[in-house]
């Protein structure tokens, strides 16, 4: 469906994309996971025919995105990271406008966005600029869908969006996928990556790994010890000094400590810090553990 081959993009002396290759299959929900500045937006703009790569190529439906840019634009729905709808137009006017520039009408394709539009309908005469964050995002998705694209490019649709709206948004993506639309979506939230069929982990323009979320989590090459107790920050500083501990990070209400198998971590902690309540348990690595591990490796 979408084939990205050895794409390189530099700005002055910054390598924004460094030999990026992966492909998105038809009907796949594919996640591009990485922090700000990883190169995600540059890649989206290249696929969406808005930016030229220095070298490498992108093929959509077997057609080159540079040569066949008209075809690509007709079939791709792109939701940029920044809210880029017309703030002074109403919800309805924005939808009409985007439908018109793709030679269709809102009424003709209304069924495509039915579920999402239901939630927007009460506000359809409100100016886009006056919508709440969650509603703006729903409108932007609707505008990206109104010309019936076969692939959706969503650049950080959930950044700055609260946990409830994020959940709802991902449910919408799942529904769209079931209707056969392929989706490439980027996010800095690691927990969202588990909702994708496959993900590419990207950092500083380089793809670190491409696989299914369970496979990425399973590729973690150390043991994760989950530590729970009082004064986690104090514990963290203590644990980092212990022999055999590779890295230790806070993880919500616990700490994750990376080290070799069979590390007697509990005894080691208790020797230095006799605390009453301390739980140490070996747990499977999650995707965030894997990503942090890969990031550290990449940095040397």
């Amino acid at each position: 469906m979408l084939k990205i081959n050895n794409v390189v993009k530099t700005y002055d002396n910054i390598r924004a994309l460094d030999d990026v290759s992966f492909s998105v299959e038809k009907g796949e929900l594919f996640g591009l996971i990485g922090p700000d500045g990883a190169g995600k937006t540059s890649l989206f703009r290249i696929i969406a025919t808005l930016l030229l790569a220095d070298s490498g190529s992108v093929a959509f439906d077997g057609r080159d995105v540079v040569k066949d840019y008209r075809y690509v634009r007709q079939h791709v729905g792109y939701m940029p990271g920044r809210f880029s709808l017309y703030q002074d137009l109403s919800v309805r006017e924005n939808l009409e406008f985007f439908a018109t520039i793709f030679n269709t009408t809102f009424n003709e394709n209304k069924h495509l966005i039915q579920d999402i539009f239901k939630q927007l309908e009460p506000f359809q005469n409100r100016k886009a600029g006056d919508l709440s964050g969650g509603m703006k995002q729903k409108l932007a998705l609707s505008c990206a869908l109104i010309h019936k694209p076969t692939v959706l490019l969503l650049d950080e649709p959930t950044t700055g969006v609260d946990a409830v709206s994020r959940k709802e948004f991902w449910q919408m993506l799942k529904n769209l996928k079931e209707e056969g639309i392929s989706i490439l979506v980027s996010t800095p939230y690691m927990d969202e990556s588990t909702l994708c069929d496959r993900v590419a982990l990207i950092q500083k323009g380089k793809v670190l790994q491409v696989d299914t979320p369970p496979a990425i989590a399973a590729s973690f090459d150390r043991v994760v010890y989950q530590v729970k107790g009082h004064d986690l920050y104090g514990l963290l500083e203590e644990i980092r000094l212990l022999d055999g501990v590779h890295k230790a990070y806070p993880f919500g209400d616990s700490l994750h400590v990376y080290g070799p198998a069979n590390l007697p971590l509990k005894e080691m902690i208790l020797k230095r810090r006799p605390v009453t309540e301390l739980e140490v348990e070996v747990i499977p690595a999650n995707i965030e553990d894997s990503f942090m591990n890969l990031m550290v490796k990449e940095d040397g």
Binding site: G37, S132, T159, L236, P250
Partner: protein, 240 residues
């Protein structure tokens, strides 16, 4: 011990719309207080009233002992504030930004250079000292912005979504800076959409439609709502 922040029935109306609807809570000195809520729940409005940028419609509040109605200028001098989006000058170097903001907060040149230089060493940013801020990775920028917001050693620092879009390692390093500041007695008032970060707070509050629905320690909220994570607490409250 005097409270760092007190709010009683604090309310802000814009015409017919009540953005913040009678919220009552307080924050202890040295506490890390998480201020959560859905988009549009009224967090930013409430925060603006606390930092002296917006006058409440009714209710009472004090910050560092100062009244938000009568002593907003004193509040501004006593607090640090770091906004959602990066707020340093991209065209100025690391040290120039520190010097500039230190000056705005009324620190004399000797003191601000002394503290800036020490902070740069503590951050491990010595090699970036004379680099333009615009060229730094986001994680570094946010750590720098926090340092700048606390250079004048405020009693309370307000952080508005400080870690949005930051990579997972830098995000954790940022929270370690928060802990260190709180350990030194600074009160931290922070908003975030990362629910794992909510677990790092001493106490959190959750706002829905302008009202504060919950305010307690994370472990107590989880027990009260019979769930295992703050994310589930949040979903239960915000969807109700």
């Amino acid at each position: 011990m005097d409270k760092a922040i007190t709010a009683f029935e604090l309310t802000k109306k814009f015409g017919d719309f009540t953005a913040t609807d009678g919220i009552t809570f307080d924050v202890d000195q040295g506490e890390v207080f998480g201020f959560l809520g859905a988009n549009g729940a009224g967090k930013t409005t409430a925060m603006k009233m606390l930092i002296g940028l917006s006058r409440p419609t009714s209710g009472m509040a004090t910050v560092a002992g100062f009244d938000v109605y009568k002593e907003s200028e004193k509040i501004k001098k006593t607090i640090g504030y770091m906004s959602q989006r990066f707020s340093l000058y991209e065209d100025m170097t690391v040290i120039e930004n520190m010097d500039f903001y230190g000056g705005i907060y009324g620190m004399d040149r000797k003191l601000r250079l002394e503290r800036s230089n020490r902070a740069i060493v503590d951050l491990g940013m010595t090699s970036f000292k004379n680099q333009r801020v615009g060229s730094l990775p986001l994680g570094w920028k946010q750590k720098l912005a926090f340092t700048v917001a606390t250079l004048h050693k405020p009693a309370i620092v307000f952080l508005d979504e400080p870690t949005g879009g930051v990579d997972p390692i830098a995000r954790r390093q940022f929270w370690e800076m928060i802990y260190k500041a709180a350990g030194g007695g600074m009160t931290v008032f922070v908003t975030t959409h990362y629910m794992d970060e909510a677990e790092y707070c001493n106490r959190i509050s959750i706002m829905v439609d302008g009202k504060m629905i919950a305010c307690d320690k994370p472990e107590i909220l989880k027990k009260d709502y019979q769930v295992t994570s703050i994310e589930e607490v949040f979903l239960k409250i915000a969807r109700a």
